[in-house]
Symmetry: C2
Subunit: 476 residues, 2 copies
């Protein structure tokens, strides 16, 4: 494991419900990464030689073991301070395998010979998976989000190394134990532990890399990928706006916006972080939103009760507080919430509704990643579109209008990869359809839909000549 | 045009038939690029709002003007020192427009609503083209290769800035004059002049970049793209191998290999640069290859006669000579050709067949880009596959065997994006089918097939909720 010139760093993790640094672990060193990747390269050809159905069968066994491991669940609960979401994260593996199998069967079935534009030439594709793919995950859904890349990569026939966030490392050891029970999978899938440095080391030794995280880190990852001449698939931050038109129902929309803003304590990429509402219904909407917000409860002291969990990453509390302070100093009014609460050492914040906000404030420009709902009114929908697009992000957005047609007309002008119409945050649970990112919210091929698996292949063309071949002609 | 702090550099170009620096031009400065890109951004929405058929119609008008301009043809002939290829380069625009129209019609027709995995949610895609795409072209097919990116980008609805190589700049001015006759196209398409610095400046101001050139420059371009957080579609060098099995016909294969190695004087990415032949037919093949090689003539003094043109880039002569010198010093034997010939100031080289070569020699490892045909024998086909894959390149390759089935079995093991079976270099004239690159031969989405146009879009998902939306539930 360790060698003299490969001192693995010891890292510590904070418990989001107690604030204690109660877990320590070794960051996987670069030499160890090199050795793991070499092992995976050995295992990968046999994995790729299986049919996609065989690979799915092995992954389904893994899904069963994952969803029935109490040790794994408890570790993920401790990592994130939430029970129901942790349980849902583990439960999703099984449906993901089924969904990707359907897509995989379509992709692999397409390998038939086709007539080319030249009458004597036919062609067909060979799908050649990257040997070893790296996946670097975030702390907000530590297992689920890595699965979005891991499952299609394995299904494509690649081997995969996953490095989850150092903020939420506890689930890795029990997961690794389960993997070891399934030798065919263990030969091509490894979870390693570590921080940003570990991620940088990993990039140097894999053939493609998937990253989910902040814009700042994502830019660095993209540059490291270019230095190592490998493709980077990165989904980064968002500052999702919702536009609510005068024809929308203020009460319904308040219910939708609240859920989309505070679910997972706002610690989700597709959380609604900006509300643009027509002035004619702003008051009705706002008062309903505040009324509903005041019914939201934290999951403390009982983790099985309440609606929202603690802030997983304690530094996020400082960011949220700085955004609120900045907004207040610039004239915003906090209608409810607004305080970081400490309970038993953990940090929580209740839904926080703000009015009188504008784009001079951090809460309208920077990702907050908390249950903060700043409301800005408009009178002309074109103005709302301009405001929604006035951002460095382009992840997702939403429109709530009188009907689908009105909403879609607005959605067409929004610069974001996924737009929820008559709802918010649909992308959190509907993975169908390819989508790319606008501006700084991501780069590389869609991680959803067919492309979500195709991105792990090189498409190789085999051209067959069945006619006379030409010699050297007079083309001086 | 020029301002005090935007001194445009004056560059000079060499005439490949006379060796004279007989053309000088101004490199487009960064301020000018900024202004051009700003103009194109203004023009792009109207272009994108047209139907793909309308855009194709305008491009077809352009194709007519291009193929009938004698001034343009003469300029490209001077740039490259070849008449027939120059004429073919200009003539290809028209068929490219037709081919991409067919693909474009398919892509745009796919924008219909689909049922998602959630029963109450449907989705459809909106295809949002990048506003301004940059294209940086090479000197070997100065117009044709830029068209491979330019035509699908324009067809997708993007505006495009093209920077051809500074080695072959003469065709740009007459092309620009033609563009100005077609205002709808001129508003979204501009050819600029300049060198590597101009290319670096361009990358900073466009939303996506296509590059064709060397591996060395391609790596730099990819890194610049990552710094500017834009996608890079790069097709780089190759060192294409052909494997010839004992069951192949030695005479037929000699004819094919000769054409694929010496066409365009070997100045093509998909030129065959390494021959691996079964020892049992090596002699018959080699003697036929030498016999045919000795019939090849240069296009001097009459540009309308002969088979091959001059070396366009004079420095290429030094590279070729250093590869030959290195091979000879290490024991290779030159069977024909082998000399850089100077005629009237231009540089030519005849087909050069080498035997007794191995992978210690530059001619087997580095891109030569000349009509050099090094032949290596093998006895076990697995050894041939290993040798073919023993390279940093993975552009294309070829297999000549007894029949298609035998060839395909070998092709499946070759690490390259396109494999010609029972022929060589099919990718030079058959663009059907998506293909990616292996190793250092390229990065980003396929520039061929449907993906060749899709890469210029962000695929945006519009999700419509038609059922009840959820409020905040007990997901602590």
């Amino acid at each position: 494991m360790n060698t003299a010139n490969n001192k693995n760093r010891i890292l510590q993790a904070r418990n989001p419900r107690t604030g204690e640094m109660d877990y320590s672990f070794e960051a996987t060193g670069e030499e160890e990464i090199i050795s793991i990747v070499a092992d995976l390269r050995k295992g990968q050809p046999a994995w790729a030689a299986m049919s996609v159905q065989e690979r799915a069968g092995i992954l389904a066994d893994w899904a069963d073991a994952v969803s029935s491991s109490d040790e794994l669940l408890q570790a993920l609960v401790t990592d994130t301070g939430r029970y129901f979401i942790a349980s849902a994260e583990l439960g999703r593996l099984s449906t993901m395998v089924q969904d990707w199998l359907k897509i995989g069967e379509t992709i692999f079935a397409e390998q038939i010979a086709k007539q080319s534009s030249a009458p004597t030439v036919t062609y067909k594709h060979q799908l050649v998976p990257f040997e070893v793919v790296g996946v670097i995950g975030p702390w907000n859904f530590p297992f689920l989000i890595t699965l979005i890349d891991l499952v299609p990569a394995l299904m494509a026939g690649s081997a995969v190394v996953v490095k989850p966030s150092e903020i939420t490392p506890r689930f890795i050891a029990p997961l690794q134990k389960i993997l070891e029970q399934i030798p065919a999978l263990n030969a091509v899938c490894r979870f390693i532990e570590g921080d940003g440095q570990t991620g940088q080391d990993l990039i140097k030794h894999v053939d493609a890399l998937c990253f989910t995280g902040s814009v700042k880190t994502g830019k660095i990852v993209y540059q490291s990928g270019a230095e190592n001449f490998i493709p980077i698939y990165a989904e980064l931050g968002g500052k999702d706006p919702v536009i609510i038109t005068e024809n929308a129902d203020p009460k319904d929309t308040a219910k939708i916006v609240l859920r989309a803003s505070v679910q997972a304590t706002g610690q989700a990429c597709q959380s609604i972080e900006r509300v643009y509402i027509h002035s004619s219904i702003a008051e009705a909407f706002t008062s309903e939103l505040v009324r509903l917000s005041e019914q939201v409860e934290i999951n403390y002291p009982d983790i099985y009760e309440g609606h929202i969990g603690p802030l997983i990453f304690d530094k996020q509390a400082d960011i949220i507080q700085s955004h609120l302070k900045d907004a207040e100093e610039k004239g915003a009014e906090i209608l409810c919430g607004g305080l970081i609460e400490q309970h038993g050492g953990g940090l929580w914040i209740l839904p926080t509704v703000l009015k009188n906000v504008d784009h001079s404030m951090l809460t309208m420009t920077d990702e907050t990643f908390g249950p903060i709902i700043p409301i800005m009114t408009y009178t002309d929908v074109n103005e709302a579109i301009q405001l929604a697009n006035d951002t460095q992000y382009g992840l997702s957005a939403a429109v709530l209008a009188g009907d689908r047609v009105e909403a879609e007309r607005i959605a067409m002008h929004l610069d974001a990869g996924a737009i929820s119409i008559q709802d918010c945050g649909i992308t959190a649970y509907v993975f169908d359809g390819e989508k790319n990112w606008f501006k700084y919210s991501g780069t590389g091929a869609s991680r959803m839909g067919q492309m979500g698996m195709v991105r792990f292949f090189r498409k190789k063309v085999l051209y067959t000549q069945s006619g006379e071949t030409q010699g050297i002609d007079a083309m001086g």
